[in-house]
């Protein structure tokens, strides 16, 4: 046969031996590590130098944006015959993220304002019944007259930085007179995406997590500058005025999970934990000076890479009445986790604000500075008055933001400055029932992001005040969150569909992820009780019937249950847009000295707990792990670094009817020193998810079931 191959394809030839030998060498860890680093530095041809970025998702799936298609604007596509833009049917799974508009007309009769933005610009939790675009349009119409102006709503929930750039380019196809961009919350992963892996690994190796944080801030700034300049230059070239609404964060109410510090150099995590324990004790004793002192030491040790110390400082400052210092600490808390790949809520960082302000000063961007605006409006730290959650606005917040935007737009159109506070009165407001829905959805959303009971209860109560009929929905929620059948296979879900609350239907039935929801359901029950509706009995009975461990074996690591424990890090998972998502452990890791779990027990039914756990690699042998049930009954287990399984009996006397709590206390891990950070850096290069936090213990399974032996004995 003709041989067209330059090398012999004959597998019996000498090249086979060469290949096999190379493979054996490459299988050695040292060689594979060297190749990884060389590749990460772009040494091999075909790789862009230094730009290798790990991809998120299983098996290295990449998340790339579609190339600009000159016929598309978001989910709308230009029709050849009419020239109008029509929603694409093949993108129907995305429709709910955008405005509910089937068509965008190419109509030059009115002045056209385009609103581009993220979920905050969608009016998340109000959408589609009430949106910032509607508020903005109502204000503009009130000043310019009906038929004179329209607002085209291109806001999209989950809009990311690169998508925003694409959309900003595409928006020009709609021939806007002004474009308003309301964005800056969803740029969380920007720093990671642009950073080359070697840079990340080097930062961790040389400067620990604090170095990683600095790198992320620098990269984030770079991304923001690039994005703003690109859009500004494009719009200047096309002579389209640009108004940028810079978002704010719910500093007053939002609390990121209080977590342990990440791995600190020189084994200082133990010291950090001691200061944290002291700070908690101080707060309990209302000794705010001591608490402040401890918190300062925490921040000094962790160099601002944990929100925990800042939250304590903020609380102390607040009690001392020092508003400015409180705000500063809250901002630092918000910024602390910019380096972390674990999921966190969208937010604008200080570096985002600073960069946007700096770029606005250079011209070409008319900046609506919401942080400053809200500060001036309320003279207080922004909180639940203006925010439904971490960044999404209440009706008042939307009206203020859009009034400020309208003020800029009107100045562009008419040359006249209208004070925003006057315009705010002209803004459309949501109907009471719409606002009530938003409040209730906010209660759910806050609860699912582990916010305190008090905040969740606040929103439940507000919802009922605005629309007492919501009590029916709340009763249904108790049912669908507790039942074992899938949400949409519950009768209560069918009842929700029949109730006149379209936003709740959309969010609850489309996006609801069932959880044990201890805080939420307590808040719901207590709010209903306050208006004379007793659902406590029903909830307790339903929990027993559907979730009792005496009836159905329960795996406490299952997301339904562990969502109610306090292991926020493990629960929240990793940002989808982040890289570093490969090879994650498929078992529980304790990132704190205590792990808390809940389950439902039944009076008169003894249970057995089956725990398979171990201490992390490198821990001292024979560490003592304690397991405490309901705050009183305690056992001690001797645990090593190999998996060990134990059965722990919980006699009838120890089991409560309803919710039971287990606290597992782990021994303190040994000092980590540099080696943990070196391991994390190596893992980054190996495309393995790195452990940035100390691990106290690991659980492979933790099941609770009825105690067969006790039942047999009693039979």
């Amino acid at each position: 046969m003709d041989r067209k191959y330059s090398c012999s394809p004959d597998a019996s030839g000498p090249l086979k031996a060469v290949a096999n030998r190379l493979a054996r060498m490459a299988a050695l860890d040292e060689v594979a590590n060297a190749l990884r680093e060389l590749r990460a530095f772009g040494v091999f041809p075909g790789q862009e130098n230094g730009d290798t970025v790990l991809t998120a998702g299983a098996e290295g799936q990449s998340h790339s944006h579609p190339q600009d298609d000159c016929r598309r604007v978001g989910i709308w596509e230009k029709q050849t015959d009419s020239g109008h833009f029509v929603r694409r049917a093949d993108m129907i799974e995305e429709w709910h993220l955008w405005a509910n508009a089937g068509r965008i007309f190419v109509n030059r009769a009115k002045r056209r304002v385009i609103l581009i933005g993220e979920s905050v610009a969608r009016g998340y939790l109000f959408d589609p019944q009430y949106t910032p675009a509607k508020a903005l349009e109502s204000i503009l119409i009130s000043q310019l007259g009906p038929g004179e102006v329209e607002v085209v709503d291109l806001a999209k929930t989950n809009l990311l930085l690169e998508q925003m750039k694409t959309l900003a380019r595409a928006a020009l196809r709609l021939q806007p007179d002004v474009v308003v961009i309301f964005a800056g919350n969803n740029w969380l992963g920007a720093g990671f995406r642009s950073a080359a892996v070697p840079e990340l690994a080097t930062a961790v190796r040389e400067s620990g997590i604090a170095g990683l944080k600095r790198l992320m801030e620098a990269n984030h700034k770079e991304c923001v500058v690039d994005a703003v300049r690109e859009i500004r230059d494009l719009y200047e070239a096309n002579r389209v005025p640009l108004v940028w609404v810079m978002p704010e964060f719910n500093l007053g109410d939002w609390r990121d999970p209080s977590t342990n510090a990440p791995c600190l150099p020189d084994g200082r995590n133990r010291e950090w934990l001691e200061h944290w324990a002291n700070a908690r004790e101080a707060l309990a004793n209302r000794d705010f000076e001591w608490a402040s002192d401890c918190a300062r030491k925490m921040v000094e040790l962790d160099q601002g890479t944990s929100a925990t110390g800042f939250h304590i400082l903020a609380e102390c400052s607040q009690r001392a009445g020092d508003l400015e210092r409180t705000r500063a600490h809250m901002e630092s808390a918000r910024d602390a986790l910019i380096w972390s790949p674990f999921m966190k809520t969208p937010r604008p960082y200080s570096v985002t604000h600073k960069t946007l302000r700096e770029e606005a000063v250079k011209g070409g961007v008319d900046l609506v500075d919401l942080p400053r605006l809200f500060r001036a409006h309320t003279s207080a730290i922004p909180d639940r008055r203006l925010f439904l959650d971490y960044c999404h606005l209440t009706a008042e917040g939307i009206q203020i933001a859009m009034a400020a935007a309208a003020s800029r737009v009107l100045r562009i159109f008419t040359g006249v400055t209208h004070p925003w506070h006057a315009l705010a009165r002209q803004s459309a407001a949501p109907a009471r029932s719409v606002e009530a829905e938003a409040m209730f959805l906010a209660a759910i959303h806050n609860a699912h992001w582990r916010q305190p009971y008090e905040l969740v209860r606040h929103f439940c109560q507000r919802a009922l005040e605005l629309a007492p009929d919501l009590a029916n929905v709340m009763s249904c929620l108790i049912d669908i969150q507790t039942k074992r059948a899938p949400v949409l296979m519950c009768k209560s879900a069918e009842r929700i569909v029949e109730l006149p609350f379209p936003s709740i239907q959309q969010y609850l039935l489309r996006w609801n992820y069932r959880q044990f929801d201890r805080v939420l359901l307590d808040a719901v029950v207590d709010s209903l009780s306050a208006i004379g509706i007793d659902q406590r009995t029903q909830l307790n009975a339903l929990r027993i019937e559907e979730r009792s461990a005496a009836r159905y074996p329960v795996e406490l690591l299952d997301a339904y249950y562990s969502s109610s424990c306090e292991q926020q890090l493990a629960q929240l998972g990793v940002e989808e847009e982040m890289p570093l998502a490969n090879i994650r452990a498929d078992y529980y890791k304790a990132y704190s000295p205590e792990s808390k779990f809940v389950f439902v027990g039944e009076s008169g039914r003894a249970l057995s707990l089956f725990l398979t756990c171990r201490l992390p690699a490198g821990a001292a042998e024979n560490g003592s792990v304690s397991l405490e049930l309901n705050g009183r009954d305690k056992v001690e287990l001797s645990v090593g670094t190999g998996w060990q399984s134990r059965e722990i009996t919980a006699p009838v006397e120890a089991v409560k009817n309803g919710i039971n709590e287990i606290v597992v206390r782990w021994p303190s891990p040994g000092p980590h020193g540099r080696e943990r950070l070196e391991e994390a850096a190596d893992d980054l290069l190996a495309n393995v998810f790195p452990e940035f936090y100390p691990v106290f213990g690991e659980i492979h399974s933790f099941t609770v079931t009825r105690q067969a032996a006790a039942e047999a004995a009693n039979a």
């Binding site: 191959y5 096999n20 074992r484 059948a485 296979m489 069918e494 009954d633 722990i648």
Partner: protein, 602 residues
């Protein structure tokens, strides 16, 4: 009384977990003291078709099925040697004309974490790991579960590490091979090239080529013979000028196209007589080569028994020809003969290594090795919703009668019972059933659920005791792995292929009592002990696993009734939100684990 710590009753059994993962069809299995206790493919849990990611969920299922914790696992066996495989991949890159994309892919393989590392870091396993050769895993998956005291063993697939075909023998606990054909010469890749040329997905569409073949004439065998040159003994060679998988993301070359004289078929476009002739000719060539090699194998291993495994062993038409016309008297093909079955073989080899004895020598009687519903789960599902259902708990005869009534009426039934099957075939646990006598049934099921090509027949399930009266079959064939002629006097248009053949599953009370009872009742009422049996899934989806999966598929499809353990829901009894639930699940992001156009070499 206070809580107490009890002595953990560690499993005293030898618990071996077998894993296949990384390229396509990840799976996990559990051998306990040599007995196969559990097995499942990851796709059934993840709902990602052909999921190749590490089988974390299947792993946890196997532990749970065996009543184990991770500390009870004696050994994890991995189904192929990553270093040997890397050698083959590196060799491909040494070709000077290899495009950069391919070289990058090879570098990916070098720098990505090794399976042992993933087993330790991701699964958390700390104990002994055994790595077994890919084709030896295939061979073991067949031989050690065949029940044969000795056998010749033939494995044929696309490629594992280096071998694509191996010839071996088994006797007692010993299993070895004496000859192999190495990459790039591969009957599996030859057939996959034909598959791709005919516009079907590689690793998925080979079955369609086999099904299309009876419609064609073997007019192109001579031409196709240029692709595969049979060499002495067990050897053969592909003429690589006709194949492009070495360098391109395409299986066949321009010379291949020129040889056949027509451009490749675009996917989903019309199938012409030419395409059918290609399929037929390719099938004839495969059968001829296999038969020659089977005869050769018998000359070296003159056993009465033959075991086959590897993806090509799923070509049941070729298997049947090898058995009928070949020198062996008995043939065993393990139902998950593809890579998923490698998990079984790997675990079996590990068992031999650890104990120096074979795993259980009983023949594999069934493959109901996956998860079933927990007690009370289905009842709770029914009572939670406003579905209108019939409750036949403690009244199986009535359930059976009701179901048969519907079948006779011409209804299509979703049938969910007991533990899920392991392997690509539905065998009466996760099945769609219908009356095979109905001439419209094939089109009806295609329209409702399968949306498959019209030429593909469905398969029958028949009572084992009566199989010989209706099919040219003189032995039990419980896994739908043999083809035979339909001899039934009653026409069975829905399950009879154009050449009069069928691929039956024989059903016995011993292996599946409820399914057998259904067939018995159908026979009693109609005189026909046969039902149409196809897998319970929509096109493009994995076979349903859980009761909720079954409900989702039922709601989305046009199936008339769902038999869910002891409960029956008619189409009219579906609450409106079930449809929304199913669509919501359907819209979840899905990634195919397998390349569509080309074999997964990397």
């Amino acid at each position: 009384m206070s809580p107490q710590i009890l002595e953990w009753r560690r499993s005293k059994r030898l618990n071996i977990i077998g894993i296949s993962a990384g390229y396509h069809d990840s799976a996990c299995c559990l051998l306990q003291d040599g007995e196969l206790v559990a097995a499942a493919q990851e796709e059934r849990f993840s709902r990602i078709k052909n999921d190749k990611s590490f089988p974390k969920q299947a792993f946890r299922y196997c532990l749970q099925a065996g009543g184990l914790t991770i500390s009870d696992v004696s050994c994890v066996a991995f189904y192929e040697d990553p270093t040997l495989k890397l050698g083959r991949q590196v060799w491909m890159a040494l070709d000077g004309d290899t495009p950069q994309g391919r070289r990058d892919a090879i570098l990916d393989r070098i720098v990505c974490p090794r399976p042992e590392s993933i087993i330790r870091r991701s699964l958390g396993y700390q104990g002994r790991i055994e790595v077994t050769d890919h084709h030896l895993s295939h061979a073991a998956s067949a031989y050690y579960f065949s029940g044969f005291p000795d056998a010749a063993v033939l494995t044929v697939d696309g490629v594992g590490e280096w071998p694509t075909t191996t010839y071996g023998s088994g006797r007692g606990r010993e299993l070895g091979r004496f000859e192999q054909v190495d990459f790039p010469h591969s009957l599996g890749l030859y057939y996959s090239a034909i598959t791709a040329y005919l516009g079907f997905e590689v690793n998925e569409g080979e079955y369609k080529v086999m099904g299309l073949a009876p419609y064609g004439n073997p007019t192109l065998v001579d031409r196709l013979s240029k692709l595969v040159q049979v060499e002495p003994k067990g050897d053969y060679k592909l003429d690589l000028n006709y194949f492009d998988f070495m360098r391109q993301d395409r299986m066949y070359s321009d010379e291949f196209i020129a040889l056949l004289g027509q451009p490749p078929r675009r996917p989903e476009s019309e199938l012409t007589q030419f395409h059918m002739d290609v399929a037929r000719s390719a099938q004839v060539l495969l059968e001829d080569v296999l038969l020659q090699k089977v005869r050769y194998l018998h000359s070296r291993v003159p056993s009465e028994n033959l075991c086959m495994a590897g993806g090509v062993a799923l070509n049941v038409v070729a298997n049947s020809k090898c058995l009928k016309e070949g020198p062996f008297k008995r043939l065993f093909v393990q139902p998950a003969a593809g890579d998923a079955g490698g998990a079984l073989g790997s675990a079996a080899i590990a068992h031999v290594r650890l104990t120096e004895g074979p795993p259980s020598r009983a023949k594999l009687k069934h493959v109901y090795l996956g998860p079933g519903s927990a007690p009370g789960e289905v009842a709770q599902l029914m009572t939670s919703s406003s579905a209108r259902y019939r409750d036949f708990r403690n009244d199986e005869p009535s359930l059976i009668r009701y179901t048969v009534d519907r079948l006779i009426e011409g209804k299509v039934i979703g049938w969910y019972q007991g533990r899920m099957e392991f392997g690509p075939r539905a065998l009466g646990a996760r099945s769609i059933l219908a009356d095979p006598r109905n001439p419209e049934m094939r089109d009806r099921i295609n329209g409702l659920v399968k949306m498959r090509e019209a030429f593909r027949p469905f398969a029958p399930a028949v009572l084992e005791s009566m199989a010989g009266e209706h099919f040219d079959l003189d032995h039990a064939s419980p896994f739908m792995l043999e083809v035979c002629q339909v001899t039934c006097r009653q026409p069975l248009p829905a399950v009879t292929h154009v050449d009069g053949s069928a691929r039956p599953q024989t059903v016995s009370r011993e292996s599946n009592p409820r399914f057998a009872a259904l067939l018995e009742e159908f026979y009693r009422r109609t005189g026909c002990p046969i039902l149409l049996n196809t897998s319970f899934n929509m096109r493009g989806e994995p076979i349903v696993c859980s009761a909720v999966d079954a409900v989702n598929c039922f709601a989305l499809s046009g199936i008339d009734a769902l038999v869910l353990e002891d409960f029956i829901v008619e189409r009219s009894g579906i609450p409106p939100l079930w449809d929304l639930q199913a669509r919501r699940m359907d819209m979840r992001k899905q990634d195919s684990g397998v390349g569509h156009l080309v074999y997964t070499l990397f």
